[in-house]
Each structure stands twice: as structure tokens, then as C-alpha cells.
Point group: C2
Chain length 191, copies 2
DNA sequence: TTTCTTAATTGACATAGGTCATTTTTATTG
DNA sequence: CAATAAAAATGACCTATGTCAATTAAGAAA
């Protein structure tokens, strides 16, 4: 049951059995069906989630009602609202399942206890955050220097086969273009 | 001499005198004059820097020779190439002084020793990275939902008085627009 | 101060992508 | 399977911003 998260942890830090035990003791398994919100704006963020199976999207809604996807999460990704979670403020993010999904959840208090019990998890989360930061920076850079077609192709290879798992308008939102515009780009790529 | 960095650390973690000592022992003061590169692409990244006084910019050069600013660093900011530094690969970033600057530098090995000696610094860097991640996400979102004028105004209030410290074309690069376009926006704001 | 260099502004023009309205295709559900 | 809803594609039109070239302004150096 815990294989995927254990190997994820061991990918980043040297973890003893006791370390692993300390983590798994604090995880809860959650199953959610398709099109369900794990998080909605205004909510007090109780958990961060690790995806065992499934596909989710995290997005904001702007003042004009437009969605802006910030992250897709598939198997072995952590997903949640870091800002709201660590800074104890209400979220302004939607996190929604695109497929029915199986997740582990951990609470803020349990995560803090874990940091006390086993500082290797400070390191683990520091490394994850550093990687997320770097990936995000790449995304900014790509947005600044590449046209949408290039970024769409990049996206497809970064999240393999995701075109089949995620509706098109989510991808358009992620790339920061209208669904119509992405549609035109796809046509050009085919023809 | 160390006041600014000490209070920066204490802002994030509970640090004893011994903790502080462990850090300051590893810092070197560096003075660099205006228009100097601290880092250039291809280089093996030896240091991360903390700005005591001055102003710097970190940017990439894309395949078309266009600059893309990823960060301005002023007093009390850390600056460096996280990706290259932590992952031991050559940098593809320029870091350049815009004003003559005074910095602290720390090496990779010293930082790792510090993490061993005092795990609170794992925490400190985790928190810094989390904040940087969040700030960067806000930047992505702002780019996706606001027009350039709005983002320019946001930028001016996020980095107060920076218009006076930083040439215009750097700001245009940061916002992801041409210098001409920013110039037109500034004209409209005045008139 | 004068000279030289760098930065900023401006105009003309081209184009990617936005918006809105409509149609076609694909999913979902009773 | 039929009926309905949701998503994708398409066309017409508009606007913001890019590019290139020229001019003006500001800053640095001698």
C-alpha cells in the first residue's frame, strides 16, 4: 500500500525503517471520484495530498471568471496549497479530480510533528520545494521565450499522454491561452 | 557586520548564538562594482549570495539573444542559481550587478556542512524556497490574468522605488514585453 | 563642459491571439 | 439507444504588442 510513497521518499533522502514508519503512521488513504473538489477557495487548508492513482488539477479563478491552471498532479505527485497550508491562511485555489483518484493525505499538525521526529523530512520537503521552484521557473521562461505551439509540444512531452487524460480547455488554461487558440494550434499541427 | 543576515535568519527560525556562529563562520564578504557578472552560463556554480547592499539582476539569454529577467535582488535577498547549485550542474544564468554591491557568499560544501551542524538551516532554506515558490506562482498567475500595465504597476509596488535603480529595459525583460512596449505604457500612465 | 555612448521614445506596420457567435463532434446519462 | 449536455472546432473581426528604423534624451567619461 505504501510502496509508491516510500520509494518517492527514498529517492530524495536516506530513510531508515523508523523514519518510514513515522511517516506512514500519519498518512490517511482517501478515495475520491471524478469531478470532485478536494479544496475550494475560502477553505482552511487541512491537508497536503500525495497521488497514489489518478489525475488532478489545481487552478485559480480570476476576477473575470477565467480559470488559470497552476499544476496538474498525476501518480507520485504532491498536490495542495502550499501557501495556505504553511502560512495558515484561507486558500484561494481549487483542487479538483479529473479522474477518480486514490490519495494519501497528511495534516498540518502531523507534518509538523513529523518534522520534529525526523528532520530528514525537512530535507525531503526542502528538496521537493526546490524542484518545484525550478520547474516553475522553467515554465515562466518558456512562457516568455516560446510561442504557444512550442509550449504545447513541451507540455505534451513533460506530461506524457496527458492529452488523453485531461480535457483540452484545462491545457489551454495551463498554457495561458484561450481554448479556441489551442484548438487552432492543434489543427495546424495535424494538417 | 552580520546584523542584516542574522535578523533575516531569526525572522524564519529560532536560532541560538551557536547556530548563528556556525553560519557566520562560513560567510565571506564580497564587494563587486557596477556591471559585473557574479555568474555566467557554463560556469560551475560555487556560491549562493546574500545581498548586504546593492542591486542585482538574474537573467537568461534565449536562443534569439533576448534577455529574460527572472529575479531582481536587493538588500536582504538571496541570489544565485539554485538549480545549478544544488544539482551540481553548469549554470545557464547570468547574475549581474546593477549597482556596486556588497554581498555575503557561501559555498556548496559549507552550506552542506551547515545543514549537518544545524538542521534549523534546512528549515530556513525550506521556508525561503517555499516563499520563493509562492512568489513565483503569483508571478505566473499575474502574467496569465493581467495586462502589462497592471503588471507594471504591481511590479513597482512590489519592488518599491526600483524604477529609479534599474534601467527600463531590464524591467521590460522581467515583465516579458519589449522595451518599446513598456515605454508606451509608461507614456499612457503619465498622460 | 564637451563628447561619446547607452537608454528611451516614437511612428509605421505586421501578426498572434482574444472575443463572440455558430456549428460540429464527443461524452454522459436516463 | 436516444436524448441531452459538454467540449471542440471554426469563422469574422479587433486589439495589444512585436519588429524595425529613426530620433531624442540621459549618463558616463575624458
Amino acid at each position: 500500500m505504501y510502496e509508491s510513497i516510500i520509494s518517492h521518499v527514498k529517492n530524495y533522502v536516506e530513510a531508515s525503517n523508523a523514519h518510514i514508519q513515522a511517516l506512514t503512521d500519519k498518512l490517511n488513504e482517501v478515495c475520491v471520484s471524478k469531478h470532485t473538489y478536494l479544496l475550494q477557495p475560502g477553505t482552511h487548508v487541512m491537508h497536503e495530498y500525495f497521488v497514489i492513482k489518478g489525475c488532478l488539477i489545481a487552478y485559480y479563478l480570476d476576477s473575470k471568471g477565467h480559470k488559470h491552471a497552476v499544476q496538474f498532479a498525476i501518480e507520485n505527485w504532491w498536490v495542495g496549497d502550499f501557501d495556505a497550508f504553511f502560512n495558515h491562511k484561507p486558500s484561494n485555489l481549487f483542487i479538483e479530480t479529473i479522474e477518480s483518484s486514490k490519495l494519501f493525505s497528511i495534516t498540518y499538525d502531523d507534518l509538523n510533528t513529523l518534522f520534529q521526529e525526523a528532520p530528514i523530512y525537512e530535507r525531503y520537503f526542502r528538496l521537493l520545494t526546490t524542484n518545484a521552484f525550478i520547474a516553475q521557473r522553467k515554465r515562466i521562461l518558456s512562457a516568455l521565450q516560446n510561442d504557444t505551439k512550442t509550449r504545447y509540444l513541451e507540455f505534451c512531452s513533460a506530461y506524457p499522454n496527458i492529452e488523453d487524460r485531461v480535457p483540452n480547455y484545462h491545457i489551454a488554461n495551463y498554457l495561458g491561452v484561450s481554448a479556441e487558440s489551442l484548438s487552432r494550434i492543434r489543427r495546424k499541427l495535424k494538417g
